[in-house]
Structures are given as C-alpha cells and as structure tokens.
C-alpha cells in the first residue's frame, strides 16, 4: 500500500484515545443505550408513525417505568456530554481529530469508500469518520435540546418554538434518535469488522501501526 501522507502511521504504544475521551465514551455508551431503549417504549405509548418497537427491545416494562429510566439517564447523558464537549473544545481534541474537515475531502474520500479504498490508520480519522463524528455530536446536542422542549414544553417554550413547537420538537427528537441509531449500527459494525480498533478504546494505545497486509481495504 502506498504511504498515505494525509494519514501518517502512528507508532505503536502512542496514546490515540486520551483517558478523558475513553471514560466519556463508555459513560456515553451506557447512557445512550438506556436513553434509546427506554425512549422506544415511550414512543410506543403514542407512536408518531405506523410502527412500534417490539416490547422486548425496550427498557422499563411500561410507559411510567420507561419514563423513569429516561429521566434518570438524561442526567448521565447530558452531564457527560457537557464535560466531553468542554474537554473537546478546550484540550484541542476536536481541532486535532476532526479538523480540517473540507467538503472536497469528504467528497473525495466518499468516492474512495465506495470503491473500498478509504485509508484507515488507527489514531487518525479520515474525512468520512470526521464527518460522522461531528454529525453525531451535533445530533447529541439536538437530542438534548429537543428533549428539554418535550420534557418542559411550557418553561422551554422559546426553545420549543425554534423547533416548530412541541410537536416539531417531538419529530426532531425522533429523527435525531434515528440518526444516532444509524451511526451506532455503522460504528459497531465497523468495530466488529476491524476488531483491532476496540482495545485502544480501553487502553488508549494503538497496538499496530499499520493495517495487516492480508486485510487490505475492505471491499
């Protein structure tokens, strides 16, 4: 494989995921898991569309139980999210990992991805990954803000008005959830397809500098 100047290989044992990011990631994984599964049960109490989530994929047992889970885990999600965003902004983590992010790089690498030629280096994100992470962080913010508007539609009526009122906030909350679920499906599938990306999320350190030759690009 040609050396990739945009994504130079990192030396093994280099910390690619700082401790704060790792802790934040796993707290967030737990919080999102609870929020989505309890949220599906809440959705089922009054579905927006002509489908419901199967009961055994939900958390809480019934509407009131799910609301309790949802309104408990929202603190975990929001507090962890605020700490993570502050860390990302002030430590330079976002600037280093996600930017620069140009539409041209996204378009070029999207083409590469379709041809199975996207570059992968542990510790360095390609433009598609950068875009996905930036989008999912924004979706998280949308979920929290629309969630506040649904939780307290009178006290947060100004916020709700930005989203088309209570009903608009409800739709936005649903679609942002769908976006996050889509992200999780892709994220987890890719981790399973390229398992060496998982240990660094615990240890912080890259185990291998370059992809093994026999793996090559996934087609």
């Amino acid at each position: 494989m040609d050396p990739d100047v945009d994504h130079p290989p990192v030396s093994p044992r280099t910390v690619i995921h700082p401790l704060a990011v790792r802790i934040g990631h796993w707290i967030n994984a737990l919080a999102i898991f609870i929020m989505i599964l309890s949220g599906w049960r809440i959705y089922d109490a009054s579905p927006l569309f002509h489908f419901e989530f199967p009961d055994n994929l939900t958390l809480g047992g019934w509407l009131a139980g799910s609301l309790q889970w949802h309104f408990a885990a929202m603190w975990l999600l929001a507090l962890n999210g605020v700490v993570y965003v502050l860390y990302g902004v002030f430590s330079g983590h976002y600037r280093r990992s996600f930017f620069p992010l140009t539409p041209r790089a996204v378009a070029r690498e999207f083409g590469d991805a379709l041809r199975g030629r996207l570059s992968h280096r542990l510790g360095t994100y390609n433009a598609i990954q950068k875009l996905a992470y930036v989008i999912v962080i924004l979706l998280g913010a949308v979920l929290v803000l629309s969630g506040l508007s649904i939780w307290k539609p009178v006290q947060f009526q100004g916020l709700a008005a930005l989203m088309g009122g209570y009903e608009g906030a409800r739709l936005l909350h649903f679609f942002a959830m769908a976006g996050v679920v889509g992200f999780i499906v892709i994220h987890v599938t890719l981790v399973i397809l390229v398992p060496r990306t998982l240990p660094p999320m615990f240890t912080g350190r890259a185990q291998r500098a370059c992809p093994r030759p026999e793996e090559g690009p996934l087609t």
Binding site: S46, G65, Q68, Q155, Q157, R170, E214
Partner: protein, 149 residues
Amino acid sequence: MKQRPGRFTALATVPPKQIRLIERRLFLKHALSLGALALLTGCDVTDVDAVQKTLRALSKWNDRVQGWLFNPHQLAPVYPESAITKPFPFNAYYDEDEVPRVDAARYRLMLGGLIRDRQPWTLPQLYALPQVSQITRHVCVEGWSAIGK
C-alpha cells in the same frame, strides 16, 4: 435430507477471506442476541431493589428541578378558538358512544386526602364557583398533544 443443489456446493467455492467476514457477521449477530438477552431481562433490571431506589431518588430530584425551573410568569401559550383540535383525543376505558350517563341531580364529587373539609360537592355548588376558561395545548404523558378549551 435432500441436498439442494447450488446451496451447499457453493460454500466450497467461497474464498476463505469471505468466510472470515461471514463469521464476523455471525459474531455480530450473536453479539446482538446477547444484547437482546440483556434486554429481555430488562424488566428484571427495573425490578431490582437498588435500581428501583435509584430511579425513585432521581425522580424526586427531577421534581425539585421542575420546581426550580417553574416560573409563574411563564405560562402556557393560549390559542384562538379556531386552533382547537377536533375531535379532541381522550383516554378512557370505553369508547365515546359508551360514555356512562350521569344523573346530574344525584352527582356528588367526593373529596379525600389531607384536607379538613371532606364535604361532597354537588353540581350546582360546583357551577357556583368562579369560572375561567382557556384554550391551550394539552400535552399527554403518552407523548401526544392536542389543543383544547
């Protein structure tokens, strides 16, 4: 069992790399069922005493937060008569045509709880109270909302 041609024979022609990929997918599937298993026990998780205590404590905390958030000058917006949702949805254990008939003369509103005067109220007494009406959005705990008077 009769072997269906083209189904079992094809496997031998699949390159090993692809089989590895398929195995990974199976792993993914199993990982998902493991998740499903954890979810199936979800109601048990909710029933665990410590979990119940935590959820109830956070629920009480949320009540306090609601108290802090509440601003008596920030009231629900009111709407014109034309914005009223028709028909207005309602939750009951019966359909609209099965609404029980109430004899107005014999109707009594019973009161209970931590109050001094538990005297039941009659309809004329209730009608004699000062009345206000407002057209506003009713938000149900189930998630739906409707504008009513």
